[in-house]
């Protein structure tokens, strides 16, 4: 009851004209920033942070929270329309969204992404409202061994993405891990595989890597794999793209489930929206309808990924507000902002500045509604992109790739990196190596490496620390079960094939 009253007071704060305008501006800017490959929510918030210093702290954080939400919506657009994920969580969205766009179902994918983002985000915010401090406590139960086990579980789950040729899939995953160890990193403190280049001291930049892997390699493929004039897929009109009652009924349960998974992952410090989107997608593939077709362009894949990453975006606010621990890169930038305004996030924030905390939480409801309204209004314009002929799209995408790669660090090195990675990814793709496991392994590896190292530091080198808590024991049991089932399945299918041949 106290929560409801506090939330009601929060709405009284956030529904002021100034704060509503801030939420609307933040959502619209977020959609634009999120849709531009190479930017993403961290850059967006970092860019806008200085503009909010003159504002009231509540208004400023409301604007930034809405921007964060808008980014999560916008990140899906370039993934669906151009196969260039706007940010890391949208990598999963591209797996199904882009094939749908190629078939002329881009509008359906965009609507599904918006609907799922809205539902996933709302689930996360409701959980944050009623269980914020409790969620933060649960997140704290995940120490380095539990986090390492969770990330290992995520890496093992990549197995289904490996495609028909398991060896090639594993090579791709390991290439991602190897690329991720380049640079100084936070674990060991000395440079690895930099070749003396200062550009690689911070590691291989993610954005140029992902733009090259997905965007530029796609261009090279488009040169020969494009439909002739007038032979492309027929675009489904806007009216038919709006999800009907049946489709909504299909998407709502999976979005709720994925939103919950995303929220849970979001509260874990450092796990982030990418892991949330990835685990939601894997879970949907394992248990959901059309699971076996995911990755080929089904609406369930888009919805699971989007609901998962928006749930995680909301979940990451729980440790931030309750404990002062950022759950993601974006919330780390927000934490910096809060501290600059003299606010000290932590258990006392809920009692010392309830106006601020509940104003922010209530504004997240408003921010999500604003973002979904802005996102739905923008779809007709986005669908025009699908009508642009491929001959025009190729040079335009190439330009977006160059500017996107350059703008991250303002370095030509990143443009060369994007180009090199794009060419390598093209050859890997034509030789039938899957690309998505490489990117996901690249994202997950730094966290895995630091968690393993910290676990050993805590235990003085004793590996039993990984079996010292019920959470890590459960997670490692699931990993073992997945490996055993995978091996047994592979052996069984090989026996079946041999039996059929003889």
């Amino acid at each position: 009851m106290d929560t409801l009253i506090a939330l009601q007071n929060g709405f009284a704060t956030s529904l002021s004209l100034g704060n509503l305008s801030a939420a609307l501006i933040g959502a619209a800017l977020g959609i634009i920033v999120g849709a531009i490959p190479g930017l993403g929510s961290v850059t967006g918030i970092a860019l806008l942070l200085p503009l909010t210093f003159g504002m009231d702290p509540t208004t400023a954080v409301i604007l930034l929270a809405a921007l964060y939400y808008g980014c999560m919506f916008g990140g899906a657009y370039s993934a669906i329309l151009l196969n260039i994920p706007g940010d890391a969580p949208a990598v999963m969205t591209a797996l199904d969204g882009y094939p749908m766009a190629k078939r002329g179902e881009g509008g359906q994918a965009l609507f599904a992404a918006n609907l799922a983002s809205f539902i996933g985000g709302t689930v996360g915010i409701i959980a944050l409202s009623f269980m914020g401090p409790l969620l933060a406590e649960i997140g704290l139960m995940f120490g380095p061994p539990e986090t390492a086990a969770l990330i290992l579980l995520a890496l093992c789950s990549i197995g289904w993405m490996l495609g028909d040729n398991v060896a090639k899939g594993l090579i791709a995953t390991m290439l991602g891990i190897l690329l991720a160890v380049v640079g100084i990193g936070s674990t060991f403190g000395h440079a690895r595989f930099t070749g003396g280049s200062m550009h690689l001291l911070n590691g291989v930049s993610f954005i140029p890597l992902v733009i090259g892997m997905f965007g530029f390699s796609q261009l090279l493929e488009m040169m020969t794999d494009r439909p002739k004039q007038g032979e492309g897929p027929k675009q489904i009109p806007l009216r038919e793209s709006i999800p009907g009652r049946k489709q909504v009924a299909r998407l709502v349960p999976l979005s709720l489930r994925s939103g919950l998974i995303g929220t849970f992952v979001g509260i874990l410090p450092g796990a982030g929206a990418t892991t949330g989107a990835f685990l939601s997608y894997v879970f949907q593939r394992k248990i959901g309808r059309n699971g076996d077709q995911m990755g080929t362009g089904v609406v369930e894949g888009v919805a699971a990924s989007e609901a998962g990453n928006n749930g995680a975006a909301a979940g990451s606010f729980a440790p931030l507000l309750s404990l002062g621990i950022p759950g993601s890169g974006t919330s780390a930038v927000l934490l910096g902002g809060l501290m600059m305004w003299g606010l000290q996030p932590g258990p006392l924030l809920f009692t010392t500045r309830p106006d601020f905390v509940w104003g922010l939480i209530s504004s997240m409801y408003i921010g999500t509604v604003m973002a979904v309204i802005a996102a739905m209004l923008i779809i007709p314009f986005l669908m025009q992109i699908l009508r642009i002929p491929i001959s025009v799209l190729i040079p335009v995408i190439a330009t977006v790739c160059v500017f996107g790669a350059y703008s991250v660090n303002g370095s030509m090195f990143d443009v060369w990196l994007m180009l090199t990675v794009g060419i390598a990814a093209y050859y890997l793709k034509v030789a039938e190596y899957p690309i998505a496991p490489l990117v996901l392994a690249f994202v997950l590896t730094p966290r895995l490496e630091s968690s393993i190292r910290r676990s050993f530091d805590i235990s003085n080198g004793d590996p039993w620390i990984f079996l010292s808590s019920p959470i890590s024991v459960t997670l490692i049991s699931v990993i073992c079960a997945l490996v055993v089932m995978g091996v047994a399945g592979a052996v069984a299918s090989r026996v079946r094939v041999r039996t059929a041949r003889t």
């Binding site: 060896a167 390991m174 160890v181 595989f193 530029f216 025009v392 040079p395 050859y427």
Partner: protein
Amino acid sequence: MSTSDEPRAPRPLFVSAVALACLCFGALFFGFGVFKYGFWMDRGPGAGFFPAVFGAGTTLLAAFELMRPGQIKGRVQLRNHVPIIAMLAAILCIPLIGMIPAMALFVLGWLKLVEGAPWLRSLLVAAVTAVLTTLIFDMWLRVQFPPSLLDKLL
């Protein structure tokens, strides 16, 4: 239905080249991981642990791929490399005329020379691309573009 008696087309050279490149890449990481960065420290894995383990894994699997017979559906054609050459030309022009003009020229040149589009459409798309990139990256995001010879002359 295919049988093992059917003659198989030779595997394209680039498929073996990709596997060989992966093998070398993995071996490099394995070697550096074990001999340079340290595989194990007194209280756990060293900086070379991940590179060594996954480098070895990559090398072994790539060697397996090299030896394994197998066919692929895709083919690499000369036409697939046209964007690489065009992009190289555009990127090399950046120090001379600046990033935004170089990319606008790339769009114009591509549409006119590669796609054979009419002049009006080519110019229009190049101009729109230049205006949008200026508005977003230069004026809004204030990205510092690399200095060019043209800037100095002007």
